[in-house]
């Protein structure tokens, strides 16, 4: 599946929920299913500090593909982190830098990615793109 197909699938999944409570409960579940984050990566280099919650993001680049692992100290944030990992992980740098992310809006979680929320999510998305750009230029200069 390409990035847009995954986004459409997430939108489909969320369309089943009739109210915000169910959406949040689903996010909490998603947060719980996020693969464990290697504790040795919980260091300042990989932290994205928000005033409200923290996010950790660790990238690996192998055979032209970026794999992200991530975590957060808040469960709802972690649920959204899980969604972002689902969309961005296992992609080429070009796919990531060229992606148009629309699913957040469509599943009613836009407020969670507003700059004023300061929960680390917006910065996490920016950071994923920055890693993609960095890996891309590394690849080109090989």
């Amino acid at each position: 599946m390409n990035i847009n197909e995954i986004q459409d699938q997430i939108i489909d999944d969320f369309s089943l929920f009739s109210d915000w409570m169910e959406r949040y409960e689903y996010l909490i579940e998603l947060g719980r299913t996020l693969p464990p984050f290697d504790p040795s990566h919980k260091v300042p280099d990989y932290i994205i500090e928000g005033c409200q919650s923290k996010v950790w993001l660790y990238p690996e680049f192998k055979d032209g593909i970026i794999t992200f692992s991530a975590d957060s100290d808040a469960l709802i944030t972690r649920g959204i982190v899980a969604l972002l990992v689902k969309v961005f992980s296992g992609r080429t740098p070009d796919e990531i830098t060229g992606a148009d992310i629309y699913f957040i809006d469509r599943i009613g979680l836009r407020q969670n990615l507003s700059p004023t929320r300061s929960n680390g999510l917006l910065a996490m998305m920016k950071q994923m793109r920055l890693y993609a750009l960095a890996f891309k230029s590394k690849q080109e200069h090989k």
Binding site: W20, Y24, I28, C51, Q52, A74, L75, I76, T77
Partner: protein, 408 residues
């Protein structure tokens, strides 16, 4: 003590309180961050811009005279409200933060040298830490910190031990924005004065909760913000003792703060204008006075009593929820409750409470050292005003119970 109005009448004075959020009635419990404004303040601001807008102290014309008179009368209202000896000791600033920065700069320029010491407490919010740190950085001075106990009470013995012959000023909060603790500022001031050291009291979290008397406290500086006492934002007050203010250099230069200006030499205007450079927020100052008048007309002691009884309800209700821990259990508190429901992250809890229409603050409350002291990343804070009701507190407790169920 009885409020001069019923709670229904009071709530009707605050239009925003009847608002709905996410389809539910707003339960506003974030008063420690900003308070809502009564019609009396909102209407006055509107009216001022319509009928009394011209620059203060600048013109001889009719409008300028009217505004200048209202502005100076606002100064008198503030003076009376905190029982300061003189009107000239009341300086209008942009807020408590601006007031503290002004003192840290002016006082620091005049009195702080390399190796001198400044004392703050561990429960200060960042506004009463960072300006002093900046001063210490400029002057190579040392910042010393009064610790607090697990209950959130300042360790006065430690405080007395911190004072040396190099201590230049003590800056301490009257009430903690996170723990709610009311500090024994009168005692703190008296001890500092024995050593000839002046004290700044940060009243940002005390001014709205009852009677504050700066003459009785005998502090040398007292600061507060308008937006936390039912007035507009962008206006605040710096009270300073006349002699000290006269000794200090101004911290900003500009219009109105000067007596004569030439390119050879400029002389300063007298108090309070020396510290009010440029066009001040006169509309804000006049509206702030209206907010203070509103509180006075309700009865400030009655306001405090009502808030204390709501605080008791909140403390008992939240304590009854399994896993909830309250941070700040001092015997004397303003109506602020900081808590965490077990291991649940404050941001998660805040998101769910928001969806239930409940406005609380989550995070570090601009007081990271307090979080560090308890080894936590933040709390949920419910800060209560007299216009809140027992039903609203009940909604909060139910909301927190719901949160614990969801994240169990």
């Amino acid at each position: 003590m009885k409020l001069s109005k019923t709670i229904e009448e009071i709530r009707a004075d605050f239009p925003i309180l009847s608002m709905k959020v996410h389809g539910l009635p707003l339960v506003y419990l974030d008063n420690g961050a900003t308070t809502q404004k009564p019609e009396q303040v909102i209407r006055l601001m509107d009216e001022l811009y319509r009928t009394a807008n011209a620059n203060v102290h600048r013109g001889v014309h009719f409008l300028s005279d009217i505004v200048s008179e209202k502005y100076e009368s606002a100064r008198e209202t503030v003076r009376a409200f905190i029982n300061a000896p003189k009107k000239e000791e009341i300086i209008f600033t942009a807020g408590a933060t601006a007031s503290i920065n002004a003192v840290a700069f002016s006082f620091g320029e005049k009195y702080v040298r390399e190796g001198d010491e400044i004392i703050v407490s561990e429960m200060e919010h960042h506004a009463n830490i960072v300006p002093w740190q900046m001063l210490c950085g400029r002057k190579n001075a040392v910042l010393k910190v009064i610790p607090f106990t697990d209950e959130g009470v300042l360790d006065l013995e430690a405080y007395r031990g911190l004072i040396t012959d190099r201590t230049r000023i003590v800056a301490v909060t009257h009430a903690s924005n996170v723990l709610g603790t009311v500090n024994p500022v009168k005692e703190i001031v008296a001890h500092a004065h024995k050593h000839g050291i002046p004290v700044l009291v940060d009243g940002a979290q005390s001014i709205q909760h009852g009677v504050v008397d700066v003459s009785d406290i005998d502090c040398d500086f007292f600061v507060f913000s308008g937006h936390k006492v039912y007035g507009p934002n962008g206006i605040g007050v710096l009270y300073g003792k006349e002699k000290l203010l006269n000794d200090l250099p101004p911290y900003q230069g500009g219009g109105d703060m000067v007596a004569t200006v030439s390119f050879r030499k400029t002389t300063w205007n007298e108090l309070p204008f020396k510290f009010e450079a440029g066009t001040t927020n006169f509309t804000g100052a006049i509206a702030l006075a209206a907010a203070l008048d509103y509180l006075t007309s309700l009865g400030r002691e009655a306001v405090a009593e009502r808030e204390q009884s709501l605080l008791e309800i909140a403390t008992a209700g939240l304590s009854s929820v399994r896993g909830v821990r309250i941070y700040g259990t001092a015997p004397r508190k303003v109506s602020v409750v900081s808590f965490l429901p077990g291991d649940i992250h404050q941001y998660d809890a805040g998101m769910i409470l928001d969806k239930l229409g409940i406005a609380v603050r989550t995070g570090t409350h601009c007081a990271q050292p307090v979080m560090e002291r308890f080894g936590i990343s933040g709390t949920i804070r419910a800060s209560i005003a007299f216009y809140n009701t027992a039903e609203e507190i009940d909604a909060l407790v139910k909301g927190v119970r719901k949160v614990t169920e969801m994240f169990d």
